[in-house]
C-alpha cells in the first residue's frame, strides 16, 4: 500500500510528490496524459521584468527532482473512480487499482468554451487545444485563424501562436447570447483587459490602466477605444466586432463578423466575412472537480475561483479524512501558485502520516503561496485573493 497516491502530474501534483517524498513518504503519481507536466507544458510568456516563463523548462526542473527521489509516474493512466474502502483509499484506473492511506487530487482545470454557431466544424478548437498543438506537439493549428473571446488566457496564447509563426487574423468577441454573458460586452472585456496590461506592451493599455476605476472611467476608455480595433503585437484586437457564425462546408473556411455597440448589442446587420482555416474559442477555465465530487467532498461556488471548488482549507485538507486537493482544482490561478500549493499538500500529508519535519516548515510554505499569489503575472480573476481569504476564514473542514 502506498502512503499517498497523487492524481495529476501537473505542477501541483509534481511538487506535492516532491515535498512528500523528501519527508520519507512512499508516493506515486498517475496522469492520463502521455507525458507529465499538465498545463505547465504549454506555457510560454514574458514576465514584467522581461524574463520568459517557459513551461517545458519548468517541468524539466520538477522532473529532475522527481527522478532523484525515485518517484514513479504512471502516464496514460486515467482515474475513473475513487472510493474509501475499509479505511483505505482505492484509486481505480484503466491500468489497475492502487491502495493508499492518503490521496491528493491535483487534476487542474477544464475549459468552458462559449458556443458559437458552426462551432462543431473541424478546425474549431478550444484555445487550450491550440496551445497544446503549438507548444507541446509543435504542430501549427492552421495557417490563418481567429481567436474568439478576449481574456488573459487567450491573450497569452494568441501571442504564443504568433511567436510560432501562425497568422492570427484577429481577436473577436463571442456573439451576444445567454451563454456568452459579459464576455460579449466590450466595456466589460476592456476593463478586464486593462488588468493585465503588463502582458500587452501597448501605450493605450498602459495609459488606460490607472483610469479604470468605476463605471464612468470604463465608459470613457471604451469611447476612446478605436472602433476598428487596435494592434497588439500586430494582432488586431477588435472589441467592437463579434463573431456571428463560423462558416464552412466540411471544415472551417471563414468567419462572419458583425459590428456591435459598446454594450455588445448588434447594432445593425452589416456583416463581413474573413477567410480563416481555424478558429480558437476561449471561454474560461473551471476547476476539474469530478473526482472530488465522487469521493464525497462538499462544494462551494465562487466566481473568483472559476466555479465550484471542493471545500478545503489553506493547508489543502478537504473535509473528507485522508483526502487533499491542490492546484487549479482549488481555484483557477497561475502555475507558480499551483507549485507552492502542491508543496503545502505534500508537507501536510507527510505530517499527518507521522513524518518528522523542521518546525515552521508548513508555515513557510503557506507564506510562499500568499506571496506568489500577490505577485502573479497571470491573475485569472481580480478578486481571487479576497475570495480565498473569506473561504479559508469561514469554512471549517473539520
Amino acid at each position: 500500500m502506498l502512503d499517498a497516491m497523487i492524481i495529476g502530474a501537473g505542477p501541483a501534483g509534481l511538487s506535492a510528490a516532491i515535498s512528500a517524498a523528501q519527508h520519507g513518504l512512499h508516493v506515486e503519481i498517475v496522469d492520463e496524459y502521455y507525458q507529465p507536466g499538465g498545463r505547465l507544458l504549454g506555457q510560454l510568456h514574458q514576465e514584467p521584468d522581461g524574463e520568459w516563463w517557459n513551461g517545458i523548462e519548468e517541468t524539466e526542473k520538477l522532473l529532475e527532482q522527481i527522478e532523484s527521489l525515485h518517484i514513479t509516474i504512471h502516464c496514460s493512466t486515467s482515474v475513473y473512480d475513487l472510493q474509501k474502502v475499509n479505511k483505505k483509499w482505492v484509486t481505480y484506473t484503466d491500468q489497475g487499482n492502487w491502495e493508499s492511506q492518503a490521496v491528493l487530487i491535483a487534476t487542474g482545470a477544464t475549459e468552458s468554451p462559449t458556443p458559437i454557431p458552426g462551432w462543431t466544424l473541424p478546425g474549431v478548437m478550444s484555445i487550450g487545444a491550440a496551445q497544446v498543438l503549438t507548444n507541446v506537439q509543435r504542430i501549427q493549428p492552421g495557417e490563418r485563424g481567429v481567436v474568439i473571446g478576449v481574456n488573459v488566457l487567450s491573450f497569452a496564447i494568441a501571442r504564443e501562436l504568433q511567436l510560432a509563426g501562425v497568422d492570427v487574423a484577429g481577436m473577436l468577441l463571442p456573439p451576444p447570447h445567454l451563454l456568452s454573458k459579459s464576455e460579449g460586452v466590450p466595456q466589460e472585456v476592456l476593463s478586464s483587459l486593462l488588468r493585465f496590461s503588463h502582458l500587452a506592451p501597448s501605450v493605450l493599455m498602459h495609459r488606460g490602466a490607472p483610469f479604470v476605476k468605476g463605471r464612468l472611467a470604463k465608459n470613457l476608455v471604451t469611447a476612446f477605444y478605436p472602433e476598428k480595433g487596435m494592434g497588439v503585437w500586430g494582432i488586431p484586437l477588435q472589441l467592437r466586432r463579434t463573431a456571428l457564425e463560423i462558416k464552412g462546408k466540411n471544415q472551417v473556411e471563414g468567419i462572419r463578423v458583425a459590428k456591435v455597440n459598446r454594450k455588445g448589442e448588434l447594432r445593425n446587420a452589416i456583416t463581413h466575412d474573413i477567410d480563416v482555416d481555424f478558429v480558437c474559442i476561449a471561454g474560461g477555465l473551471s476547476p476539474l472537480a469530478e473526482l472530488a465530487a465522487i469521493a464525497g467532498c462538499k462544494f462551494i461556488h465562487e466566481d473568483a475561483l472559476g466555479g465550484y471548488v471542493p471545500v478545503h482549507n489553506e493547508k489543502m485538507e478537504t473535509a473528507v479524512s485522508g483526502l487533499y486537493v491542490a492546484g487549479n482544482i482549488t481555484g483557477i490561478e497561475s502555475a507558480k501558485v499551483a507549485i507552492s500549493q502542491g508543496t503545502i499538500a505534500g508537507l501536510v500529508i507527510a505530517k499527518s502520516l507521522g513524518a518528522r519535519m523542521i518546525n515552521g516548515k508548513i508555515n513557510e510554505a503557506l507564506q510562499e503561496v500568499e506571496s506568489r499569489r500577490a505577485a502573479a503575472t497571470i491573475q485569472f480573476h481580480p478578486h481571487v485573493i479576497s475570495s480565498r481569504e473569506s473561504l479559508y476564514k469561514t469554512k471549517k473542514t473539520q
Binding site: E32, S78, V79, Y80, D81, L82, Y92, D94, G96, N97, T110, S112, P113, P115, I116, P117, G118, W119, T120, H177, L178, L179, L244, E245, S286, A289, E290, L291, A293, I294, K298, F299, I300, H301, G307, Y308, V311
Partner: protein, 91 residues
C-alpha cells in the same frame, strides 16, 4: 444562421434547451433528462456547465447555496471497458 448546438453528442440546440427550461422551470437535472443534453457518449464533459447555466439563468443565488454540484457526477468518470469496470481485468 445555423442552429447553435450545445450538446454535440445528442445534438441538442440552445433553442431547445432554453425553451424547455422556460416551459418547465427545470432544474439542471430535469433539463438534462427532458432533452438528453449531457447524456451522450462524452458524459457531458463539454456541455455540463452550459446546461447548468441555462437552467440557473435568472435564478443564480438559489442554486449556488447547495453544497453539491448541481449535475451529479457518477463513476466511471472516464470511459472504461466493461471488463475493467467490473473488475474482470487480469490484474
Amino acid at each position: 444562421m445555423s442552429t447553435l448546438i450545445v450538446c454535440r453528442c445528442e445534438e441538442v440546440s440552445l433553442e431547445t434547451l432554453q425553451k424547455t427550461a422556460y416551459q418547465y422551470h427545470c432544474s439542471s437535472r430535469e433539463l438534462k433528462l427532458r432533452t438528453r443534453a449531457g447524456m451522450g457518449v462524452c458524459g457531458g464533459r463539454s456541455c455540463r456547465m452550459m446546461i447548468e447555466q441555462i437552467a440557473t439563468a435568472g435564478d443564480n443565488e438559489k442554486n449556488y447555496e447547495t453544497e453539491t454540484i448541481p449535475l451529479k457526477y457518477q463513476p466511471p468518470i472516464r470511459p472504461v471497458p466493461f471488463g475493467v469496470w467490473g473488475g474482470l481485468s487480469d490484474e
